[in-house]
């Protein structure tokens, strides 16, 4: 008997009864990115499922230097067109910069995975933690996020933004600070119930002397003088105290162990399931994902590859089973509608009004997920956002100076209202709206409404409705 049988993610194999179709390709795009543009759906349908998954998962590595360059010099929108927002706050620019990448990037999964890690290792911009440090952290999450969790965790522990945010830079042997040690156990790895307070105390001693240099570009610096050289007992295992520069090895030893602990795998699996599968993942899904993580050296890329290609992922029950975060919602809408000059649309303000401001998670626990985003204000904000999108100026070619829509292109040549509404539905949801919804929509139109007005009415209706809050 194969003990792993029940926890394996069986691949999805198309059959005449259960083909590789538009609904599945759109589902994959909604989860591995933000929304499903018609031509992206068509491109995936030309591939076998496994190759379609690979086309999303095997995004190329990015040029970290270039990212930094764009972020910090020439206005963070140097690569965008005019009106770069010189004089406004760098944090605002950074949000616009990131949202721009999410909407227009060719590697949406890379952006979504970076967002996943930003929400996991949630650091918040404040007067002690300025934007450049968070941008440097963002660059690190981009580089290491797709790869192995232990490597990522080692980098996060040395990340100046994290050292500042959780005060470890003032964690010294004479006055240990437990902030980082506690969150490391509670939020970043094992989770509540898997450690005791004395483990926090001992772990804080392990990380004494881990600090960031001061100055314009802080870097990780280990201070042997502030490190507690004594032995420690963390989670029942003795950590041999080390003197001098090798004191830093104690922390690395513990980080590697924490990264690979079974409860860490379960905790990450639960989170991955809530980000990529459904709001209320079953124990089976979590066990499957935990087993995949452990079996693939905790590589996020490989785990997601197996997940996205699995029968479980494509099951009809998982479709539209996730409540979108505000960032997912606004990006998916703008991406689906191919809004031009999206950096001038104010997505950073709209998502903030909906309760999610990039680089400003509410606290170190990150943003809530699922039903947390369902509330009266969100419904009103979504409706307002839909109306504002629908009223964007029309353009047939790239224009400067304001956000715009190519309204005619969105109708895809359709003239008849029901056909237009259907085209827009496919674009916005990835699948066609129900016949009843189309009937209802057409019944509400003014007689002889011009095609462009029908497009706008359809945008307002589909983006504003409750179903768009689901992915």
């Amino acid at each position: 008997m194969n003990p792993h049988r029940s926890t394996a993610l069986e691949p999805f194999v198309p059959s005449p009864d259960d083909p590789w179709d538009r609904a599945k390709a759109a589902h994959l795009l909604r989860r591995a990115g933000f929304g499903a543009r018609p031509r992206e759906v068509l491109a995936l349908l030309r591939l076998e499922p496994a190759a379609a998954v690979a086309s999303l998962v095997d995004f190329p590595d990015i040029d970290a230097e270039l990212e930094a360059q764009i972020a910090l010099e020439g206005g963070c929108l140097g690569e965008l067109d005019n009106r770069n927002r010189i004089g406004e706050r760098l944090g605002e620019n950074a949000r616009v910069w990131w949202l721009y990448r999410m909407v227009n990037g060719r590697r949406p999964l890379h952006e979504k995975l970076t967002l996943f890690w930003h929400a996991h290792f949630a650091c918040r911009e404040n007067e002690l933690l300025p934007t450049p440090l968070l941008l440097a952290q963002n660059r690190m999450l981009r580089r290491l996020g797709p790869a192995r969790f232990d490597e990522l965790l080692l980098a996060v522990a040395r990340d100046p933004a994290m050292l500042v945010f959780l005060d470890n830079r003032s964690n010294e042997k004479t006055r240990p600070n437990e902030n980082w040690a506690r969150e490391l156990l509670e939020l970043f790895t094992l989770g509540r119930g898997n450690y005791e307070q004395h483990d926090v105390v001992e772990l804080a001693r392990v990380f004494t002397g881990w600090r960031a240099s001061s100055g314009e570009e802080p870097r990780f610096a280990f201070s042997a003088a502030h490190h507690d050289e004594g032995d420690k007992l963390v989670l029942g295992t003795k950590i041999r105290g080390r003197a001098g520069a090798s004191g830093v090895e104690e922390g690395d030893e513990v980080l590697r162990r924490l990264a690979r602990a079974p409860s860490t795998a379960r905790r990450l699996a639960d989170k991955l399931a809530r980000w990529f599968v459904c709001d209320e993942p079953s124990a089976e899904i979590i066990e499957c994902l935990a087993a995949e993580l452990a079996g693939r050296e905790f590589s996020l890329r490989e785990t997601l590859r197996r997940l996205f290609a699995s029968r479980l992922f494509f099951a009809p029950a998982q479709r539209f089973a996730l409540v979108r975060t505000p960032v997912d919602l606004v990006v998916a809408a703008a991406r689906s509608l191919e809004v031009q000059n999206v950096h001038l649309l104010g997505l950073e303000t709209i998502s903030a009004r909906m309760g999610m401001q990039l680089l400003r998670p509410p606290n170190v626990a990150g943003w809530g997920l699922g039903a947390r985003w369902i509330c009266a204000s969100a419904a009103a904000q979504r409706a307002e956002f839909a109306r504002d999108l629908a009223q964007l100026p029309h353009t047939t070619r790239r224009v400067a100076g304001h956000a715009a829509l190519d309204v005619e292109a969105l109708a895809a040549g359709a003239r008849e209202p029901r056909r237009i509404a259907s085209e827009l539905g496919v674009r916005i949801f990835g699948v066609e709206p129900s016949s009843a919804a189309l009937d209802d929509f057409v019944a509400g139109l003014a007689p002889n409404a011009a095609p462009n007005d029908v497009v706008r009415a359809a945008i307002e209706r589909w983006v504003g409705c409750a179903d768009f809050a689901l992915a």
Binding site: N126, L128, V364, C375, A466
Partner: protein, 393 residues
């Protein structure tokens, strides 16, 4: 005449016990709290001025206000000259001024201090829920407050404040009642999804529709107060409308930036306090006119006070982050006068800041108590409310 038994059977009257409880609920349910959050850390020393204290004048050669300009409340202290409305309230005996308000574990970071205030906790990692969010949950569970999507309402903010956070409720935030009321809320779905999947989303839409209708009512409510033509004035007017329209809102949160007067404090602080005073005075007048001042409490919070010694020179002079400051509480059930000891200018902490004589958690406990809930149920520990609440008749 029908006897009681027949009425009971017909369901016309509730059993006596239930009736009394329901009446008790109704009385308390009418109360509301309007919180003005002075973000950035308001300078208590230049708000309530110890004009006879030489140490104050020595520490602040540029910023210190002269005795003759101060609105004296007693022989030692007086309000900033911009606070004429609050002085009038003090004289009417409806304004309490809490002195020495701060934290036993002060932190000079806005962020950490705001987190501490939001949670009413001095733990290294404060709980993620806010003290008003927890009060809401307890009050609703006990039937003290009606369950309503508007029970906690933030006006003039993008997001509800962290003090409202709770797992069981997401408070709405509204910039403009009329605009919210005009929002074209979607009808029906699009994809014919299983109703169980969209049930909560539909409920939220229903709730938004309900809120929109209530907001339309608030937007159409006449007010008379002379609100200053600023964001804060608009938000205070919104608060008055919520009360006068009789919305089911128990706590209204108004955030006003930014009291973080590192530079140009003399001029900036005067403007900030002037707007605050005029907004509160107009709100107070509207509430009083509508007979709602007895059931509405206006209170201020701010994450910390400011350094005693000024920094910078001349018109640029300002102050750094500090600890103890002062707070105002006005109206419903408040006993006018001073509460708490003024911080001792001769006993500063290592950072040169005023020490707290009143724990901010006790200040929060005061409002929890005034809602009819024991502080322990919300703050997790038995805090002692300040003696600024009038005994109920």
């Amino acid at each position: 005449m029908l006897d009681r038994r027949a009425l009971l059977q017909a369901g016309v009257i509730a059993p006596l016990v239930g009736l009394v409880a329901a009446r008790g609920r109704a009385e308390r349910a009418e109360r509301a709290w309007i919180v003005f959050e002075l973000t950035g850390g308001n300078d208590g020393l230049d708000t309530l001025i110890p004009f006879e204290d030489d140490r104050y004048h020595r520490a602040r050669p540029t910023l210190a206000l002269e005795k003759r300009s101060v609105l004296a409340l007693d022989e030692h202290s007086g309000l900033h000259p911009a606070l004429t409305g609050l002085r009038a309230s003090f004289e009417r005996g409806e304004l309490a001024i809490v002195r020495g308000l701060g934290s036993p574990k002060p932190d000079l970071s806005h962020f950490k201090s705001q987190d501490a205030w939001a949670a009413a906790s001095v733990a290294d990692v404060p709980p993620p829920s806010g003290w008003l969010g927890r009060l809401h949950d307890v009050a609703v569970e006990r039937g003290l407050w009606a369950r309503s999507p508007l029970a906690l309402l933030a006006v003039g903010r993008d997001l509800p404040p962290p003090a409202f956070a709770t797992e069981h409720f997401v408070a709405p935030a509204c910039h403009d009642f009329a605009a919210f009321a005009r929002t074209p809320l979607a009808r029906a779905g699009a994809l014919g999804l299983d109703p169980s999947r969209t049930e909560r989303l539909r409920e939220a839409e229903e709730s938004a529709r309900g809120a929109a209708a209530e907001f339309a009512r608030a937007a159409g409510t006449r007010v008379f107060g002379a609100y200053p033509p600023t964001g804060l004035g608009d938000h205070a007017r919104m608060a008055a409308r919520v009360r006068i329209a009789g919305l089911a809102t128990r706590v209204i949160w108004i955030t006003t930036p930014t009291f973080d007067t590192h530079t140009r404090q003399r001029r900036e602080h005067e403007i900030l306090l002037g707007r605050l005073d005029a907004s509160i005075a107009a709100l107070r007048d509207d509430l009083s006119r509508a007979g709602l001042l007895e059931t509405t409490t206006i209170l201020t919070v701010s994450e910390f006070g400011r350094r005693v010694a000024e920094s910078g020179v001349g018109a640029d002079a300002g102050t750094d982050h500090g600890n103890a400051s002062i707070a105002f509480a006005l109206g419903g059930g408040v006993q006018g006068g001073f509460a708490g000891e003024a911080s001792d200018l001769g006993d500063l902490d290592a950072d040169g800041n005023l020490r707290a004589t009143v724990d901010f958690r006790d200040y929060c406990a005061t409002w929890v108590t005034s809602a009819g809930v024991e502080p322990g149920a919300v703050l997790g520990e038995a805090r002692v409310p300040l003696s600024i609440l009038r005994r109920r008749a």
